[in-house]
């Protein structure tokens, strides 16, 4: 039995009987103060596909929505265009109104004549009105060619796989278990806790990283809904949102299949490792990275008011910021992919100052020099570290972006040469017993996982969300969400916040036995498909588009077929299909052609009554079900 089906809806609109209702909103005066809304409605009333055209003071109000509902229920219209504000505000409002009236909610088009017309053309009412007429006519042309669409229903496995056992992965796993959702937590190393467990203390609680992790770990190991697999990796992944199948292989080579409805990626980051000789790293025994220095703080080398590195007692330390971050082309050597790390790693300023405070507290006699491009202690209370370090004698020097400091080794001691912007470019030579490089974060190499699901990666090589503000933890691959530093540099608090968000997203996704997905995915009109397979080469989403044998006139022919749960709806396939057999539902090329016709038309009357191509999209339940098997 298929696990994916169309959700049946009531649809009163017949394909060959197009009667569009056009509703032009005044938005109080936000629109009608500039656009002559009555003139727009009047012009559209002459469109051959328009049965009713009205203007009203607030279409989103209950009486405004009732206009639409009543016209549908009276059988006057079977498609709707509302010309109003941005669709991001009220597209859903009006779709629900259609649904209440018994009409397929996707037989609707929203035209933006506020943010993109009245608000930006205040000085030219006449041309703003002409533009509103053309845009609304384009909306009519689009909706006239719109087919009823059905949400895609996918059966759900109520289980989540979390990949990565650092603080973000652990936090997400615990949050899911608290909601009653089973979790398999997969960690490549032999311990949980990731990078946080290595920290000698964390700001502002001053707990050790290990203490912080222990709180989560104690919770995690007694939670019956969480299965932890250490020394394990995901070696294969297939399926789709609601039903992913992952092959998990342990260090002994034993593999097991794990099924999940959603996946949380919490694969973390790698510390930037300076190249040999970069700022003396690897060539001078007096140079180490900040993570290495934190290891020194943790292992007890700093005790009794004295810091010893090897046989040497350290009397002075120079900290250099932005090593491996905020790099500049032409100044810094590129990474393996030919690009420099031009992003800010965000946490190293605070981490460096926190380490400085630790030294000042325990060894107040050690001289501290801090060389930075600028200090970015952006978090709540983080600026205090800077002020306290400065108050207790740390000397701060600001080096120019294009001229990073130079570290030389002189008889086993380091000498740092730099220019100081704060003293108008004065050149300084700073002898230091120890140089600590504040290295940034880099994306961890998870190219195997990326290749398995074609996961989107940003220009900075970190995993990329759909939208940094509106959908900050979701990926374009449905059912895969992000937690923590796999997405970009974050501090511990941000990693945990992202993990909670990711857990909430996954929990919402799995809260019902069936997921309803948007229907805006590719569809194939089989009677137009000639089996040329050009579309296959364009599709980046494994399994989304396949060729199948179908019976035709007593023979067997090959036709493209879409698995809607795997299709991302980008439309790359549509662009290369010569007979236009494949389109993204709701966004067909015929619709866009007709919209352009309306924009260039002299007037609305000149637009011909729509000749809707007889469509024969295979019924969703059949197409999707077969494709998913």
């Amino acid at each position: 039995m298929s696990d994916i089906n169309a959700v049946p809806r009531t649809d009163k609109a017949a394909a060959d009987d197009v009667r569009v209702g056009v509703y032009v909103c005044h938005c109080g005066g936000n629109i009608s103060d500039v656009v002559d809304t009555a003139a727009v409605a009047d012009a559209l009333s002459h469109h051959p596909d328009v049965a009713i055209a009205r203007d009203y003071v607030f279409m989103c109000s209950d009486p405004g929505q009732s206009l639409i509902v009543d016209d549908i229920k009276a059988g006057k219209i079977n498609r709707v265009v509302v010309a109003a504000c941005s669709p991001s505000l009220h597209e859903l409002t009006f779709r629900k109104a259609l649904e209440r009236a018994g009409l397929n909610p996707y037989l609707y088009e929203h035209v933006n004549i506020r943010e993109q017309t009245s608000w930006v053309h205040k000085g030219d009412h006449e041309r703003a009105t002409r533009k509103a007429i053309r845009l609304t006519a384009a909306g009519v042309e689009k909706v006239a060619r719109q087919d009823p669409l059905e949400s895609i229903a996918v059966d759900v496995v109520p289980h989540v796989v979390v990949i990565g056992g650092g603080i973000a992965g652990m936090s997400a796993a615990v949050a899911l278990a608290e909601r009653g959702i089973g979790v398999t937590l997969i960690e490549a190393s032999d311990r949980l806790g990731g990078r946080v467990a290595e920290l000698p203390s964390v700001y502002p609680t001053e707990q050790t990283g290990e203490d912080l992790i222990r709180e989560l770990r104690d919770h995690l190991f007694v939670e019956p809904l969480i299965e932890v697999r250490l020394r394990s990796r995901v070696t294969a992944m297939e399926g789709h949102v609601g039903k992913f199948r992952l092959l998990v292989t342990d260090a002994d080579g034993a593999s097991a299949e794990v099924r999940a409805g959603a996946i949380i990626l919490a694969t973390g980051f790698d510390h930037y490792r300076p190249a040999d000789g970069e700022l003396g790293y690897g060539t001078s025994p007096s140079v180490m990275t900040l993570p290495e220095f934190l290891g020194v703080l943790r292992d007890g080398s700093l005790a009794n008011g004295e810091l010893r590195i090897g046989q040497k007692t350290v009397k002075s330390i120079a900290f250099i910021h932005c090593v491996g971050s905020r790099q500049i082309e032409g100044v810094h050597a590129p990474q393996a992919d030919g690009k420099v790390n031009d992003y800010c790693s965000r946490v190293c300023c605070t981490a460096t100052l926190h380490a400085i405070r630790e030294v000042q507290r325990r060894c107040p006699d050690i001289a501290i020099y801090d060389l930075h491009k600028d200090i970015r202690t952006y978090g709540r209370g983080h600026e205090d570290l800077y002020l306290q370090a400065s108050r207790d004698g740390a000397l701060f020097f600001r080096y120019p972006d294009e001229e990073p400091p130079v570290v030389a080794d002189r008889s086993g001691a380091a000498v740092v040469t730099t220019k100081d912007v704060l003293t108008w470019g004065e050149e300084l030579e700073i002898p230091a017993d120890l140089v600590v490089l504040a290295t940034g974060m880099q994306p961890r190499d998870i190219s195997d996982l990326i290749a398995m699901r074609k996961l989107p990666v940003g220009a900075d090589r970190f995993l990329q969300e759909v939208h940094p503000k509106l959908r900050p933890v979701e990926m374009a691959v449905n059912g895969v969400v992000l937690a923590g530093a796999c997405q970009g540099p974050v501090d511990i608090g941000e990693a945990c916040a992202a993990a909670q968000t990711a857990a909430a997203k996954a929990a919402i996704l799995l809260s019902k036995p069936v997921i309803e997905l948007d229907p805006f995915v590719a569809h194939v009109q089989e009677d137009l498909c000639d089996g040329c397979e050009l579309c296959l080469a364009e599709c980046e989403y494994q399994g989304a588009l396949t060729m199948v044998e179908v019976q035709n006139d007593g023979g067997s022919v090959r036709r493209a077929r879409v698995n809607p749960a795997l299709c991302a709806g980008c439309g790359a396939c549509a662009a290369v299909c010569p007979p236009r057999a494949i389109n993204v539902a709701g966004w067909t090329l015929d619709q866009f052609d007709a919209m352009v016709d309306a924009i260039v038309a002299e007037d609305v009357e000149s637009l011909a009554r729509s000749e809707r191509r007889a469509r024969s999209f295979a019924p969703l339940a059949v197409t999707i079900g077969e494709a998913s098997r």
Binding site: R114, H467, G571, L589, V596, V600
Partner: protein
Amino acid sequence: MRSEDDLKILIITTLISSYPGANTVGQARLQYSPGTYIIRVPDPVMFPDDFYIQSLKKGIDGIIVMSSGSDCPYEGAYARLSARISRVYGRMKELGIPTNRLKLTTVCTVCKAAFLKEIREMQQAVLSDAAAAAA
């Protein structure tokens, strides 16, 4: 002589970045020419080469494709779109259509200045082509 008032600039925006970007321009009440028609798509990679040529032939004066650039959430889509636009430029040259009437650019949700700059530049390009043709 054509003026800015006569032009019809088609602006193709993406649901996830440049369409909200156009809204941001409106929310800031920044003004631009009414001869601009914004359509929204999941991703402009869905348009075949011919869509651009036919739109220009139908009477669209200039097309600005405001993509999500390297931030596009669809794997490989921007590279494909970029390659396609390059091919369209080739066809435009063959057909004698000035290539500056089609522009691929990147506009995000908060790129107000870039949005307005692209419109201004397209208008200037179309008008200077028209002036040159008239001369």
